[in-house]
């Protein structure tokens, strides 16, 4: 009996690696600490009522951002471990199997559990405020999206200590990810972690699409919508069209592994190439899903800190929509070398290069916005300015990769690694950092400390170039991706050492950001006006942080940068239209169903990972019951009465 339990435990828990034991201890200690603090300060009820069951888009956004920063830490540790292993030849830090798991989880986490939720966090906090709405179109669904993401992320991260992590790369190509070559549970964790959070992502795409179409304040025509909201619009188009492809592709892979199907197997007629096509039909648009909102952020930041209207508003909108369409016609450039034939390669080479045109339009528009502007070098603007050269170089190397014949040399080498990190860190990470610094006062009512912010900025930036520039050279010297060891006679040692130093510098940059946030909580510059940057769009017309109903009176919009124009009119003493009377505000009620339903999804996912029907059957039944419970609940909203609005407004505006 005891032996059976021992055998099970050694199979169920990941054992044999001191790093993992360290992680076990760290996880246990943090859980005990969190539970202890909450119990000691009697905060469980507060946590449940104010956060876990909330449907307020601003709070959901904050939870997204917290979770994604946590994932940035996890993915960053993975990166540091990898770079340590290949800093010099013949280092025995990670076993090859462990190395495979680390690069797989690094990629998956950074794209799906870091970039996506950070993006959704900013969507949530800003979009309704920016378009003058009281909430998103479906607040309940919004909470559900968050908890599904969270459940999926936790399931995926669990693989680290339970069962074993996936190790077939973040793309998980079959047959490597098929049952024949990958019999463990790791791949199932990959499938279900992404699957569960993917449902949430799709729901968010639909939710924001409807919000942007239907909930704009009166007077805000589509061509008066702020740039960030436009970028969300373009992103949602791609999400709605691309995410179902991922869902189905992973479902088919799972049916292969779980149900004995033959979609992507090597025997009985399966076709692994089908998976690769389908994966990148989602995967390439996904790149634009994460980068378009960053473009939106840059547009807001550049206009605000140059104190000028964005240059070429219409061309910016058009460029984004063109990118969102073109993004669906480029997927094959991910496998030029896999024998598609010259004609097909040429088609996809051209469509890939075409995307550089609208992107270039946007870069020039940002530069022209800065031209003769009165630029203020606040942190968001610094990240934006750092982004431009970084992204331009990254884009150029992308065009080099798009040249099909040249790609036969670059493919799967470190040149490629350097390229996509340059566009993803230079574009997405820098962009979201700019957005986080820009909107932080709106979220929490105070500005983040500049001192530590500048340390973080310089360490990230210098670290970035030190880390990735050598990798272009390494790629041209023949170093391929995903290798965990090499010998001295390759000559790759020195450049790899430099690259690793760069990775550590970026790691320090992240630590400085943590210090920045921690110190700012205690000592900070308060945002008393609600408009700390003297900005241009509607979200800055509300107090910081905005009350739960966002706007006591829904604004009427006349111009593109309506809040800026309002301030101009006020400065000139032009009388404003009288404010209409306050009316009771219709609000959605909190609900526990999203978190409970996601918990059932988690249980079901865990059951599918291990093939335990006594987990997945109750889990799926629970999910269905939660859906029924929601369908049958009619008491889902309430009205905030006028006196309460008056009291709230007096309290938050009193200090102005």
């Amino acid at each position: 009996m005891l032996d059976t339990i021992k055998d099970f435990a050694s199979w169920f828990f990941v054992t044999g690696d001191p790093l993992i034991y360290g992680a076990d201890v760290a996880i246990t200690l943090s859980v005990i600490a969190i539970v202890g603090v909450l119990t000691y300060f009697k905060k469980w009820g507060w946590l449940w009522k104010n956060w876990l069951t909330t449907v307020d888009h601003k709070k959901i956004g904050i939870m997204y951002i917290l979770a994604s920063l946590l994932m940035l830490f996890r993915g960053g540790v993975d990166a540091i471990m990898m770079r340590t292993q290949i800093a010099l030849p013949d280092i025995k830090f990670l076993e090859p199997e462990h190395y495979n798991q680390v690069f797989t989880t690094h990629g998956t986490i950074m794209i799906l559990f870091m970039a996506m939720p950070l993006m959704f966090g900013l969507f949530n906090i800003i979009v309704p405020l920016q378009i003058g709405a009281r909430d998103v179109a479906f607040p309940f669904l919004n909470a559900l999206s968050f908890w599904l993401f969270f459940a999926g992320a936790m399931l995926f991260n669990m693989s680290f200590v339970i069962g074993g992590s996936p190790d077939a790369g973040w793309t998980s190509y079959p047959p490597l990810s098929g049952l024949m070559h990958n019999p463990g549970v790791g791949q199932n964790f990959y499938i279900w972690g992404i699957q569960i959070s993917g449902i949430g992502s799709l729901a968010t795409g639909i939710n924001f699409m409807v919000t942007l179409i239907k909930m704009r304040a009166p007077g805000m025509t589509l061509m008066k919508m702020p740039m960030f909201s436009w970028s969300v619009f373009a992103t949602c188009i791609i999400i709605i069209l691309a995410f179902p492809i991922l869902t189905m592709t992973l479902a088919l892979l799972f049916l292969d592994r779980f149900g004995g199907a033959h979609f992507f197997t090597l025997d009985l007629g399966g076709n692994p190439m089908m998976y690769i096509n389908l994966f990148w039909m989602w995967g390439h648009p996904e790149v634009y899903i994460v980068v378009l909102p960053a473009f939106g952020i840059f547009s807001e930041v550049v206009a605000t800190f140059s104190r000028k209207r964005i240059f070429g508003y219409k061309s910016m909108v058009f460029a984004m929509l063109v990118i969102s369409v073109l993004s669906f016609f480029t997927w094959l450039h991910h496998f030029f070398t896999m024998g598609s034939g010259a004609d097909i390669n040429v088609f996809f080479a051209i469509t890939t290069m075409l995307i550089a045109i609208p992107t270039g339009v946007k870069i020039f528009n940002w530069l022209f916005t800065m031209y003769r502007g009165r630029i203020k070098f606040e942190l968001p603007m610094m990240w934006t300015i750092a982004f431009i050269p970084c992204f331009v170089v990254g884009g150029m190397t992308g065009v080099l990769l798009a040249v099909a014949p040249a790609d036969f040399q670059f493919h799967n080498s470190y040149f490629l690694i350097a390229h996509f990190h340059q566009v993803l860190i230079g574009g997405v990470v820098f962009g979201y950092f700019a957005g986080m610094y820009y909107w932080w006062p709106k979220m929490f009512g105070f500005k983040l400390n500049d001192y530590w912010g500048k340390w973080a900025f310089w360490f990230w930036n210098i670290g970035f170039y030190v880390c990735f520039m050598p990798q272009y050279a390494l790629g041209l010297a023949g170093m391929t991706r995903r290798i965990s060891e090499y010998s001295w006679d390759t000559g790759w040692g020195p450049l790899n050492l430099i690259s690793t130093i760069g990775a550590f510098l970026m790691g320090l940059g992240f630590i400085f950001q943590v210090v920045q946030i921690a110190t700012s909580i205690f000592k900070h510059q308060k945002d008393v006006t609600g408009d700390i940057w003297d900005a241009r769009t509607l979200e800055w017309s509300t107090p910081s942080p905005a009350p739960e109903y966002n706007f006591a009176v829904i604004p009427h919009v006349h111009d593109v940068d309506d809040w800026w124009e309002t301030k101009q009119r006020r400065a000139k003493g032009i009388p404003e239209a009288p404010q209409p009377q306050l009316e009771p505000i219709h609000m959605p009620k909190n609900s526990a169903i999203p978190i409970i339903m996601s918990l059932f999804w988690f249980v079901a996912g865990f059951g599918f990972v291990f093939g335990w029907w006594w987990f997945y059957v109750p889990g799926m039944i629970g999910v269905l019951l939660c859906m029924l419970a929601r369908s049958f609940s009619y008491n889902t909203d309430y009205y905030i009465p006028v006196d309460e609005i008056k009291r709230t407004e007096a309290a938050i505006r009193g200090s102005v």
Binding site: K214, A217, L241, G260, A261, Y639
Partner: protein, 205 residues
Amino acid sequence: MAQSAVNKGNHGAGHDHGHHDPNELKVLGFWFFLISDVILFSVLFATFIVLRNSTAGGPTGEELFNMPGVIAETFILLTSSFTSGLAVLAMNRNQKKQLIGWLIVTAILGAAFIGLEISEFVEMVHEGAAYTTSAFTSAFFTLVGTHGLHVSLGLLWMIGLMIQIGRRGITDTTRGKITVISLYWHFLDVIWIFLLTVVYLMGVM
């Protein structure tokens, strides 16, 4: 906090600015969901088309498909789409009993469709075309089965809505729910027409 619970259906129009007709939002949101569902089925169709000749020596569609049964399924499903339309018409005339009646007819037709489909599947397995036999059978069962799963979930949903209509009658809220499920039901019909064409007709041709 003072909260006053108000039934969504009862508050007047123009009551508060910036508040939107919830049904209008739901229907638009559902259209976007249907678009994403179209993509989902497109992946399955594409996979089926790529793999339909990959029978690996196992039975082919031409040998397996029982066309009279498929034609019967088609007529049953098309009729159910028609009766769900009649349900919506009854709702628009505020006739609760007719509405529930037509929903029951729709659900029975849907259940009959599922029953026929299952018996077709069982027969195929008996003829040696199991799920794991070849890439073709995997693709076939997954594509047709996903449609069947959609129909089955729609049935559960419809039963839930019938109970709600029975309890609450035709209100703004239930009206929105019926509109959405009828969209869903018609959508499943359209998908089936593609299934009939791509899987069965092209399979036996």
